[in-house]
Homo-oligomer: 339 residues x 2
Amino acid sequence: MVEPGRRPTIADIAREVGVTKGAVSFALNGRPGVSADTRARILAAAERLGWRPSTVARSLSNLRSGSVGLVVTRPRSLLGVEPFYMRLIAGLERALHADGRSLLLAVTDHPGDAAEIYRAWWSERRVDGLVLTDLRTDDPRLAAVTDLGIPTVALGAPGPLPGLSTVTGDDGPTLRAALDHLAGLGHHRIARVSGPAGFAHAARRHAEFAAAHRTLFGTDPRQAHTRYVADQVLAATRELLDDPEPPTAVVYDSDLMAVTVVGSAAELGVRVPADLAVLAWDDSPLCELVRPRVSAFAHDVDADGATAVSLLIEQLRTGTPGHAELSPRTLTVRGSTAG
Amino acid sequence: MVEPGRRPTIADIAREVGVTKGAVSFALNGRPGVSADTRARILAAAERLGWRPSTVARSLSNLRSGSVGLVVTRPRSLLGVEPFYMRLIAGLERALHADGRSLLLAVTDHPGDAAEIYRAWWSERRVDGLVLTDLRTDDPRLAAVTDLGIPTVALGAPGPLPGLSTVTGDDGPTLRAALDHLAGLGHHRIARVSGPAGFAHAARRHAEFAAAHRTLFGTDPRQAHTRYVADQVLAATRELLDDPEPPTAVVYDSDLMAVTVVGSAAELGVRVPADLAVLAWDDSPLCELVRPRVSAFAHDVDADGATAVSLLIEQLRTGTPGHAELSPRTLTVRGSTAG
DNA sequence: CTGAAAGCGCTTACAG
DNA sequence: CTGAAAGCGCTTACAG
């Protein structure tokens, strides 16, 4: 008998069926070592009592927490509007949930805190592994996870990293496709506004865009680095437009950046797309909020999150990091780059 | 000696200092029962070894998980663009983190799943309590958490609920302020587009807006219920505008709704604010993305999350649910309701 | 194949 | 004030 309110344990089942707790554990975990008849009676009792395994008890035995950690190190003000993070979190949670795991989340405005949080999580045995995003050039977090030996997957890493699982992507083809699309519309002064150079992905795209531009036009493109904040994006754009030979098209490093510019076109003194074509890296419903709607390169955040999770789970099982590709980016043409 | 890679436990500290594990536990938790000298030596050893408590071990002893659960039951497609959820999650995480707790998150497209997830979390001892949002009229989750006896705080509940902590707000004054603001600009045909009637907050605001409108104008206002999806919001707006005496101002139930309408004003055949003034419930940077910028009633999501968390923690400690008020809403006037 | 026992890393009621 | 021991709910190596 289990008094109401108390949640049943394997001891209750064992008493009910008249076997040991060990036998119950074997039966419930589908391991050999218990007769078919006993197993059936144990499963029936578990069902009848409404037994579910205690996650913490199992974790303590396993020395595994069942959780995967993600530290989002972006300003809170950005988090609300930049759709990427919510989508990433939802995607990771879905993939982890499907494997009976959960996501441990921390949000901090200060990037330097991340390594400290990892250290605490690891020593408190809160996480079995980590998902890293927004890798920086010379990222201090890499040393931290390597030193501590935390199984980790780096999502969107520029390339394979020693000891980590990585989900990498080659942005070159996408950036060439961006240039091709715009050049096909008659543009030949095509600039780019990039995220902060401190981000590995921004630095890499910066270099790859330059290379693609040189191949196509034989010259270096104009590119600006800026933070993902509205007024700085507008300032960077204004500076590009102040050039004696201003660009007629700009590729932005996020959908939010591009949407901000299209929304503020009048203040910038340009018409989109007549004076300035605008193309976004990353797509989201934000791109459909402004007029003209914003052309964008979409990628499948859910799929990339699932890829990262499966690599990490595999690494937890085998001890060996794995590598995979980001989902490809596909262009959706809308009004902001109309012909 | 603790071999490298292995994380130290209180047994290591006990051996190092030459006392029992119990003494170590008392010392580390600041409880009486150990001499000042021993305590100091224990703390020093813990520091030297880099000891941190194992969360799962502590949870198993305490029979408390240290986690609070949130199930977000909105379509994933909405989650990316609607800033509220990411802000709520970040706010809850911050408040919980400050208390050494963590947020367990699940995202599901299907509202019916939530009660099932609560049940699983509870029986697996994954959570100590829950945060409920987006209460529905006759919400099946209420019966579930009451039956199971899960400590729960309902954020944005219409009023006190038996057995639950609640953070409630009176929307009446805000809706009257909305009408006053618009009437002050000369509007007297003021409609409202509301979220689905199934949501308790939408139903309540619907009724309170009607009451406020009757008080001010002596007539019932036109109001429409719609899902938080772009085309349905536009359809509802179009229907209002098709009236022989169309409204000259509309109050929308979210910033995203209002921004969608302002972004699509041309398709709707209206100029904002000349033909149609637009006012949003909830503020976010989205409101600054379109032109004209959208006037909105802001509230402090972070503060409300912190309030919910502190009520829940108090309830976990005392067993008694508490009640508090939502942060007040403040109007930011922008171009969409310019004079 | 089966069962009794130890162990995961903590906390705490209880006896000296 | 101090210490030895049992317990939280599982898993699993080991002996019958």
